[in-house]
Structure formats: C-alpha cells, structure tokens
Symmetry: C2
C-alpha cells in the first residue's frame, strides 16, 4: 500500500546511471559472509556479537517501526529513533545475510519503504541551525551517517528486493538525501573535513549498493567529480603523512570510521584503486598513531574539542581494527585492545580476531605505548605533536607536547601546550570540550557556548597567554593559517628525551620557544618516574604580561610562597578570553627566586618547582565563573604570571611519593627539587641548573642553531663545555 502511491513521485524524479554489480559487496562480500557464517558456531565471542544483534532485531520482528517526522534535537525522540532505525536497518540486513531468514529482509524493506515515503517530503530540520542543517536530523552530519548504514543495509538485502522495490527505495529514500548533499549542501559536501568524509562515504556506499556509478564518482571525486574534493581528496588533504588528523585523536576516532567503511566498500568494488595503500598506507598509520594518542586507560587525549570519557572501546575503533586486520594483515600489537573491547564486528577481520583471541595465549594487557612524533598538515610540514613516554604499564608517564596547526573548527588556541598523564591518571589536563553528548536538556548534546568562551581559549591550557589574550587573539581564521614549528627533538628509550618547538605568529610581536626535557634521573623518592624540565622562553621588543597556567587535577598540599586566599567573596580572574570563567581563589607573590607548588592526585604527589623573580605573581583559580547553566566542571589551576619583554619560565615537574589510604602511609610527600638557576640565557644559549635530590642537573640548550651536527662551546663560571647538536644534559658532571 505504501509502495503504491509512491510510484508517481519515483518515476518523476528517477534519472541516474545504473550498472550491474554483484551484491553484497559494501560491508562484506559473499565470501566474507560464508567465512563468518562458518566461524560463528565455533567461536563464543563472534557468536556473542551475532546473538547481541539477533536479540535486538528479533525484538522488533512483527512490529510496526516508527519513522517519525523529524522534530527533535539530539537526545530527543525523533533524533534517537532515526538513529535506532539506521542501526536496525543495518543489523536486520546483516542477519538476513547470516541466517538467510527472509523475515529480516522483510523488516529492513518495510523500514526502507517508510523512508521512501518520508524523505521526499522533508525540508530542512525544524531545529536545524548553522550553515549545514540536516533533514532527518538537526545537522547534516547525522544524515550522512544515516546514508552510510542505510546504504550498507540496502546492499545486504539488494538481491532480495525486486527491481521495482530497489527503485522505489533508491529514488524515495536515498535520492532526496544525495540530491540535498550535492545541491543545497554542495559546499559542505565539497569540504576537506571529516563531515565531508561521512558525506562521501554515505553517497559512495549508497552508490555501490544501488548500482549508481554517478554517486560513486561523486563520492570519490566530489560533487563536481573534479577530484578537488571527495573521498580521495580528503584522504590526501585531511590526514598528514603520519595519518595525523589535525582535529586531534577524539575526532580522528570519529573520522576514521567513514574512511574505513567506505574504504572497505570501494576496495571490494574497485580493488585496483588500492585505497588502503594510498599515500603510503596512510589509513593504517592513522589508526595506529591515533591509538598511540590514547592514555593507559584507553581514553583519547583530550586536546581540542574532545570528550574525556571516550576510549578505544568505542564502536569506531572496533570497526576500524577489524577491517584493518583483513586489509593490512594480522597486527598482534592490536590484540590487547581487541581483548579489552571484548567484542568484534561481524566481518572477516572480526571473525579472524575472535579466533586469534581464542588461540593466542600471549596477549598482553596493554597496548605497546612508546614515544612518538607525528607531523601535522597534508604534507607533514605544519608542525606536529610529540608524545614523550617513560615507564611501562601502569607506571607509564606520558607527556603530550602540541605544536600543530589549528585543528579546523574543533581546534583550540593552545600553541606549545603540554599535558601530562601518570598511569591512568590525568595530571596536567586539557579541558576538552564543554558538551554533554546526547542530553536533550543540555542543548541536545551540541557544543555548549563555554566550549568557545572557555575550553578553546589559551588560558584553559598549559601554555603561555600574553596580556590576557588568547593566541591569534582567538581568531580562528588567522590561527588556521598558522602552525608552530619543531626546533629539535630526540625521543626513544634513552635517559634524555627532549622536544623543542617555536611559535612566532600567535602574538604579533612575541616569539615563543618551549623545550621539554623528560629526564630519567635516579632518585628513590620519585618511584622511578621521570623528571620533566620545561624551559619556556618569550622574546619581544615590548613589555608584556605572561601567564603560564598549570591546569592540574588534585588537592593542593602546600606552596612554598605565602598567598592571600579569597575566603568570603570571590571574583573572576578577568572579563574575557576565558579569564571570566575562572574564580580567583587566591593570589600570591614570589618571595625568592625559587617557588614550589605541591598537589596530590590519587595516590601520588606532584610538585611544580619554578624559577621566579620579583615580578612573579601566583594565582590559584577554579573553573566555574560565568557559567549560568552549570555546564563547566570545577577544576583548579595554578597560574604563574611574569612581566617583562624577554622572559623565561623554567619549571620542573616532579612525580614523587605515595599516599596509601588503606594502610594510611604517606611516603616522600616533599619534592626533591631544591634549586633552579639560569646560568646563561640569551639568543644563543640557555644554560639551566637544577638541584634534585642533591644531584646537580646541568642543561645546555642552543636557542638559535638547532642542527644536530653543529658543535657548540660555552663557558660557564670559567669552565668550558662543548656539545654537539642542540642540547646536552649532565648530572653531577656526567652525561645522563
């Protein structure tokens, strides 16, 4: 009955190219399905994935599935229902292939036919906002995801459908969306942006599923089919040669799914394209290097817009790993992750991994994390990110040093930012995004205003803010045109790891140069954790106020300096650029050239020891000001403020001691850093000395010539020191 009154519309709008094709092919080929069908009864984990889906789909069999007129934001009924529906379409189509039971195809078809009626009637979503509203959903991105899963579903039931049914669905359910993308949303569809990857994947998968070469070409080469946009342009333009995705790992996770899903489909459809080999196997690098950007607990590093509770257990990573297993071959490094995921997809790779998990008795508990350096930019020449790591398993220390480009619309003003993790715990934190995913009462899960006004601002990070203004004065366009540059680095297993980068555009008249040393200096009190030395230089012809915040998590234990706490009335630290979101809890002043701040996070102590001068002020702050809707967490920060033209911050971050609540024993609650001096500090060289556990650490650093082959001679207190390359570190006169 539904199909009957659709025909006139369908006939009227149908005008695409059709090619004959073997189905299924998009998600699994027929041979893949044969293999999976064989493994299911013999493998408990794969069978569980199968049963989970079956249980869900079976509960809908015989029911009338609602396909409502779109109305709500994320979290609301119609939004959630359409999400449910595309998964139900996909899952029932998978069961049709795996069981051969026609009832699953009937269910999927009945839903498709409802969309074939609904979609041609849709205008822009009533709650749609911004430049790119959707139709089924408030934002076009979700419509693209709908296309991806509906396309995969259509392909799976393709051979069950009659020619007329295929046409009804292709023209009614898919064409209005594809026309919308390539018409009104053409600018969006043509972006080099993760949303466009979803759009390409949706249009491309629908193209393969419905035998529509026109769609496939639009997907691969953009709506104009000129290759300036589309899937391949995104693969080349969106990912750096290391597979680094400029929006950061949280969005890399999301972006990788359409890359892999459509990559997989097009690889079946047109193997000659060798999509997974393109740009020197960039899709493999993107997966592996994204996983290196997770913490020991699997959480993605939260720089740029990110939600902290997202981990590699996410569906996107399960899908990508399972596809990678087939196209790139077995990768044992991934098994600790697949083991924790404890589920696989119903794919050839998923089945193979399920078998591997069953037979391989040597799978470790942790992904093999190591120090890593990733370039940003399509050509790898737009800065990057370095992760310095030390220690193994739950005593893994990870320091993220970010000197990338801006990160598109999800970037933050955080040039030369650092974050620090100790085991599973976040010590120096990046706020991430201000957002409550999928909660209707919180703007339907959209980014809340405080994402822009606070989380993206420089003060919300652990890097220098000059004159209370964010980098690039918070101008996204300007920031997007620039990136920091690596000066030098050395990472790996040695006792000295270092990374140094410069930023000359964040402020018109200031040059920023930050160098992070991760040093393994033996000391009984620090649980063998590395010492971090942070030399942050500013250079300017003019006087400035420099704020260096430490967004720490934990309880303040002690400061070496006196401060004035604001105990009955508290005001915000400033009025703009994120400062308006910080309550000023206390304010202090340095009393000598060495200042120390100790806090407790979980069972470990951390001390920040600082070189300070007469101009130095300290602020203890907490997020939560100007937050009328209670959107912010209330995390503390310790801000060091210095004034001057050329200034240098030398900070030593020490992990020490242990607090055991069960035994009530605290050990080494005091820092072992007792002195910091700059013996020389000019355009040529910085020489810093640190007294740590009665040892003298001496750091020589070249500030101009970063070449690894240059030879330097420098005289300190009439003693001559030589070094080759950009730095040298001595402990008690000996090479570390």
């Amino acid at each position: 009955m539904l199909a009957r009154f659709l025909f006139p519309i369908v006939l009227f709008t149908y005008a695409t190219v059709s090619v004959a094709q073997i189905h299924p092919i998009t998600y699994n080929t027929k041979e893949d399905f044969d293999y999976i069908r064989k493994v299911i009864p013999t493998n408990q984990l794969l069978n569980q994935s199968f049963q989970d889906i079956k249980k869900d789909v079976d509960s809908w069999i015989g029911k009338d599935i609602d396909v409502p007129v779109p109305k709500d934001l994320a979290g609301g009924y119609t939004h959630e229902k359409h999400k449910e529906n595309y998964m139900l379409l996909f899952n029932s189509s998978m069961l049709y292939q795996l069981t051969g039971d026609v009832k699953y195809a009937v269910l999927a078809k009945s839903i498709f036919l409802k969309y074939a009626v609904l979609n041609p009637t849709l205008k822009n979503h009533p709650k749609g906002s911004g430049k790119f509203p959707g139709r089924l959903f408030f934002q076009s991105l979700n419509d693209a995801v709908w296309l991806v899963y509906s396309g995969l579903a259509f392909d799976n039931i393709h051979n069950y459908l009659t020619i007329n049914e295929r046409k009804t669905i292709a023209d009614g359910a898919f064409k209005p969306e594809v026309d919308f993308f390539s018409g009104e949303l053409k600018d969006w569809f043509s972006l080099i942006h993760n949303h466009a990857v979803w759009a390409c994947a949706g249009v491309g998968i629908v193209g393969i599923a419905t035998d529509n070469e026109d769609y496939i070409q639009m997907a691969l080469k953009g709506p104009q089919k000129d290759g300036k946009s589309g899937f391949i342009a995104n693969l080349n333009g969106l990912l750096s040669p290391d597979g680094f995705y400029t929006e950061g790992p949280y969005y890399n996770r999301y972006a990788i799914l359409p890359f892999y899903l459509f990559g997989n489909a097009i690889n079946h459809y047109q193997p000659s394209l060798k999509i997974f080999s393109q740009k020197d196997t960039v899709l493999q690098k993107s997966l592996v290097n994204m996983l290196q950007q997770t913490n020991y607990d699997g959480g993605f590093y939260s720089y740029n817009d990110a939600l902290k509770d997202k981990t590699y257990l996410s569906n996107e990573i399960v899908e990508a790993i399972d596809i990678a297993w087939t196209v790139y071959g077995d990768t044992p490094d991934l098994l600790p992750i697949t083991k924790q995921q404890n589920r696989v997809t119903l794919t050839r790779g998923g089945a193979a991994i399920a078998n591997e998990l069953l037979s391989n008795k040597k799978i470790g508990n942790s992904y093999p994390y190591h120090s890593v350096e990733l370039t940003d930019g399509a050509k790898g020449d737009e800065g990057g990110v370095t992760i310095l790591r030390n220690g193994k398993k739950d005593s893994l220390t990870s320091l993220i040093f970010k000197y990338t480009g801006h990160g598109l619309s999800h970037g933050h003003y955080d040039k030369l930012n650092i974050n620090l993790y100790d085991g599973v715990n976040e010590i120096l934190t990046d706020y991430g995004a201000v957002r409550f995913i999928n909660i209707e009462q919180k703007s339907g899960g959209r980014y809340l205003p405080e994402t822009k006004t606070y989380a993206a601002q420089t003060i919300a990070h652990n890097t220098i803010v000059a004159d209370g203004k964010s980098h690039f004065d918070g101008n996204e366009e300007l920031s997007q045109q620039n990136h920091s540059n690596k000066a030098f680095s050395s990472i790996g297993d040695g006792n000295v790891q270092v990374v140094s980068a410069t930023e000359n555009n964040a402020y018109p008249d200031i040059q920023l140069h930050r160098t992070i040393y991760m040093l393994s200096v033996p000391n009984p009190s620090n649980n063998s954790k590395p010492l971090i030395v942070d030399i942050f230089r500013t250079k300017s012809a003019n006087q400035h106020q420099y704020d260096l915040p430490f967004q720490y998590l934990g309880a303040l234990i002690q400061t070496s300096f006196p401060y004035k706490p604001f105990t009955t009335t508290q005001t915000s630290l400033g009025t703009k650029n994120g400062y308006e979101h910080l309550w000023k809890e206390a304010e202090g002043k340095s009393t000598n050239s060495f200042s120390q701040f100790t806090f407790l996070n979980h069972s470990t102590y951390y001390s920040i020891s600082s070189l300070t001068d007469d101009s130095t002020r300290f602020f203890m702050t907490r997020n939560g000001a100007k937050d009328p809707n209670f959107n912010l967490r209330h995390d503390p920060a310790y801000i060091i403020r210095k004034k001057g033209s050329n200034q240098t911050f030398v900070n030593v971050i020490e992990t020490h001691g242990n607090y055991n609540a069960i035994t009530e024993i605290s050990t080494n609650t005091y820092s072992s850093v007792s002195k910091i001096e700059l013996l020389q500090n000019d355009d040529e060289y910085s020489v810093a000395t640190i007294t740590f556990a009665n040892k003298t650490i001496l750091i020589f650093q070249s500030n101009k010539d970063f070449s690894p082959s240059s030879e330097h001679e420098i005289s300190i207190n009439n003693v001559k020191y030589n070094f080759k390359g950009a730095y040298r570190v001595l402990v008690d006169g000996k090479e570390l």
Copy 2:
C-alpha cells in the same frame, strides 16, 4: 653494650608481679604456629603473606635499626619510623616463630633494647597537643598501638630471651609507657572510648607477654581495677547490643582491631572468660554489622568523621575476619570479602581461610548486602541507623537513615540525616572528615579545622537546619546527651520499605519527624531502581527558616525553576555554622507547587522532585569558601529553604535513565515524577499523592500513633481508607 648501662635504671624501677606462663600465646598459640607452619608450603596465598613479611624483614637483617628521639607529627620521619619499628618488631618475631631462625629474634631483641634505653628518658612528645599527648608519638593513641604490636612481638620471642633480657625490656621499654597510661593518662585510660580500648589492649597484651598479672587486670578492669573502665567495660559500654559503634563504621573499623587482638590474646590466656561470647556475641555482631555498613565497593559509609577511601580491604578487617573465622567458626558470607582482600594474616584463621579460598569454587563477588537496622547505645535504646537496600550486585541501591546518638568526639550534628548510594556511586553524600591522613604538610594528618567548622555542621548533611543553626547549636556536650528515636519501620524484601524517626531535642522549640519510603514501583525508565519518598515534617509554635540541603555529587542537568546565577562575584551563603564554607552559586524561587532538580552522576540521572510553596527558595552552593589552606573538596549542594512554623518537605528522589559515553546514547533523561500533593497533613495524619510515570502513588501515614496494630480510618475526598499500622501505600488504588 646497650644492655650494660641500662641495668641500674632497670633495677631501680622494677616492681611488678610476675606469673609463670606458656609462650607464645597472645597472637598465636604454639599449636596455631604448628598449623600455620604446615599450611604455608601448600597454600600460595598464605605463603605470599609469609613471603611478603619475610622479604621486608630480611631487608633489615644485619642493619642498625634507628630508634629516634620523637620529634615529628604524623607523616614526619620519627613518627613513621616508630610505626615501622613496631611492625618490624612484630613481623620479625613472627618469623622467629615460623622459621625458628634465631636471626629474627636477635633483630627484634636489638630493637627492644633500644626502646628500653629510649623510653625511660621520654617526656611528653614535643608536638603533642590536646589533653592526651603521647611520648613516642604526638598522640597517646599511637603509643597504645605501639604497645599492642610490641607486646605481641615480645610474647613471640619471650622464650628466646634470657630472664635478664626480659626484665630489661619489660622495665625499660614497657613499664614507662604503662606507668604513663595508668598515671598521667589515667583519665584517658579510664574512658569508654576506642582510644581506651587500644590502651587496654596494649597494657593487656604486654601483661600477658611479660607475665604481669597486674597489667592484665588493669587492662580488663581499668587502671583502678574496679571494672568501671577497662576492656570489658568498653565491650559493654561502647558497643550496642547489635555491635553498633556510635562513632560510625569508619571508627568501628579502627576500634574493632584492639577488641579482636586483645580478645584473641585473653581468650588464649583465660578461655573461661569467654570474651567472644560476652554480651550475646557482640564482637561477632560488631564485625558483621560494620561490614553491612560498607558500600558495594567496600568503602565504609562516611557519616561522622570518616575518610572516604577506606574500605574493608583495610588491615583491621583482615585481622578481625581471620580471628573471627577461628572463634566463631566458618562464615561463608565473609568469603567474597576475603577473596577481594587477597591476603590473610599468619594466624590459624588466616591459614584456614586461605585453604577455603583455594578449595571453595562457589564464592560470590559481593558481600551479601541486605537491609539492616541497628540500635545505638550500650543498651540499644538510643536511636539507631537503618539501611534500606534494594537490588543486587552493582544495581544495589542503599539509603542510610541515621537517627543515632551523637557519636562521641567524632560525631556530627546530623540528626535524621540520609545518604544515598547507587551501585558503587555516592549520590547524596556525607562529607566525612576534613583530613589528609599521614601527610605532614596537612598538619601531620590530624583533623583539620574545617572538620569542626564545616564537615560536622548540620548544613554539610542532608537533613533540616533551622534558622541557620546546627542541631544542638553545635554543642557537643548537649548533643551527646540526646538521641533521636525510631517511630516505625519495615525493612526487607517487600515492595515497600519504610523507616520513620523523630528528633525533639535538636532545637528547643521544634519537633522533627522524617519518614523515608523506598518503593519498588515498576517503571521502564528507572532501570528498576526504587523510588524514594521523603516526608520531613517540622512542628513548632514559632516561625522558623528551614533549610533542607541535598549534598549531591554530579553535574546539574536541569531545574524546573528559574534561578539567578552569580557569575562574576560569589559570596558565601552565611557567616557561621558551616554556611561560611559554601559559595552561593545561584539562588531561585519556586514558581509553583512542584519543583524539580535533575543531575547526572556517572552514567545515571537523578531527579529530586519537591512539593514547594510561595515561601520556598532554592540555593545552589559549592564547598570551598573560607578555606584558606585548600583543605576542602569542592562538592555541590542543592538547598531547599522554606519558612513557617509547621512545615512539611515532601521530596521524591528518582534514579532514572542512562548515559553511555562510548555509544553516545542517553535514555530517559527526564524524571517520570510529575506531581506531588499533600491531601492531608496534620498532627494525626499525612496523606501524600505522587504522580509517577502516570501512576498515582498514595501514601497514608500516621503521625502520632506508630503502633503496628492500630487501625486507622481516614477520609480523602469523601472516600474512606482504612489501614492498620503506621502507614499504607497504594499505587493506582492497589496495595504496592
């Protein structure tokens, strides 16, 4: 050499009664040791306990053990060293018994001889404060603990020591401490208080170990040996007939150790005393009922002065369970806990449990929690605490309703307080104590001033504060003389659980009556979690301001009422009684008779729906004001303020929905409670109706006659209702 110059002192001060005795006997008998020695090689867990101790002690063999002159607070060197030393004494003496290797006895002896030199020279500790300073430690309590472990150690090496050595140690190391306790500290030693239990245990164990009947009698009957104080008086006076310890479970944990350690010793020494059977096996009840006062994650409920990170993995509980296993026989209920503890003591019970863990394959993962009601007071007539529970395992809901006495020096002003836990998560919280155990920088781990000024005050809890003053106006002596009274209750497995209590003394002219219903009303949106209805009545001849705080943990999602947020300047809510520690973040006003407040804690939503009137104001607050040393956590609260003479708060607390960060799906983010009315509310009856998921819940409650046999007839809207007992609950006209 050490011993030589000790003799003159020793001879001069020695003057106690000696009796012949078989040793060892205090911690283990010879037969116990024989059994443990036999099990060690066959049981990995017991062997691990043995190896752990051995590894630690072996690292000290041949070294000169420092016995420093006392100087530091907790966390400081001398404090920690003396703590280490008594454990080293104990552990090396255990190894002497278990291995027969004389080197362990030599090590213990050498330490004892140093204490025999040091102790006679000690005056009160230089950092000692309060009425009861210690000598080796800043507080006498720690000196008592030192006596306990040193006494056990002496007993273990008793037979190795020569008569002269015994005398040297007894007179040099022990006598000064015992004399100090029974002399200067006699008032303390004579208390009915957990510190006195430690003192009795220390003196008693030393008495048995050194064959000193005088000490033993002082321990059992108090320093005057009149039975008015001492161990038995404490056993009778400190624990209620249910074994409830008025200071709360956190201190029950600490207090149970000396009860069990000396109980065990005296039970070996004088079995005819039947110490473990006294007061109807109160020591068994105390252990089991304390464990019922832990949360699903093993954490002790944090009412009164408590630290939240303390769990039943603590050493005290390992010791107590292992002793209980021997004296009370096998108790399979305890095995889920011993399994999590994953260690046992080197006792007969410890060895037996280790064997049980090995052979018993049916041990569950969770302690069998159930609803429980415990009386307070030596005779069980001073109020109590009721824990209403619903659900199993990680969907266990626990509500603690407290109507006890004050709780001695660790009590809070929290009459009729409630706390709520959902699975492992704390939802409505009790701050506990403000204290950083064992951190020297935080006053050496002592209670910080904010414990009294904030954590103990009524506003820090979830109960009514009248006129901004704490219960009993914060007068401990007055509070100590009073207790609340249970009105009626019904707990167990039914769909209706209820507990009702009255408090007539907290304020001179106000009667408080609170009734908590935990209702299992089927509703798909609340994950089968119970609905909590809280009817809190006040009665007074005078006008008052009533504040009812909800100290929730989580992120505010939505309120049904408008409020004014304080976004650029924030002031404290008040100036005293704990209000000075709350920042006022926002203030609102009820716009109709129904108000709602929804928050997210971990992955679950909670809504507090309230009957409100024109006088009702709302405050959103956060701890942290007047906190110059950053001692407080920054937790939020939602405070409902009403004015009037007789007022009734009706609040419904609903657990609903789910937030899944991995799948990004939120369900049932809105409360299903849509209406609350009081159909009748007077001295005789309260009748409340609640609309919940389109069902009508009708609650009848007698406010005067709480007898379970009384018959009531009440007419509502011309319909007559009958009920027997103090309450009746109907859902859509049917008995729940």
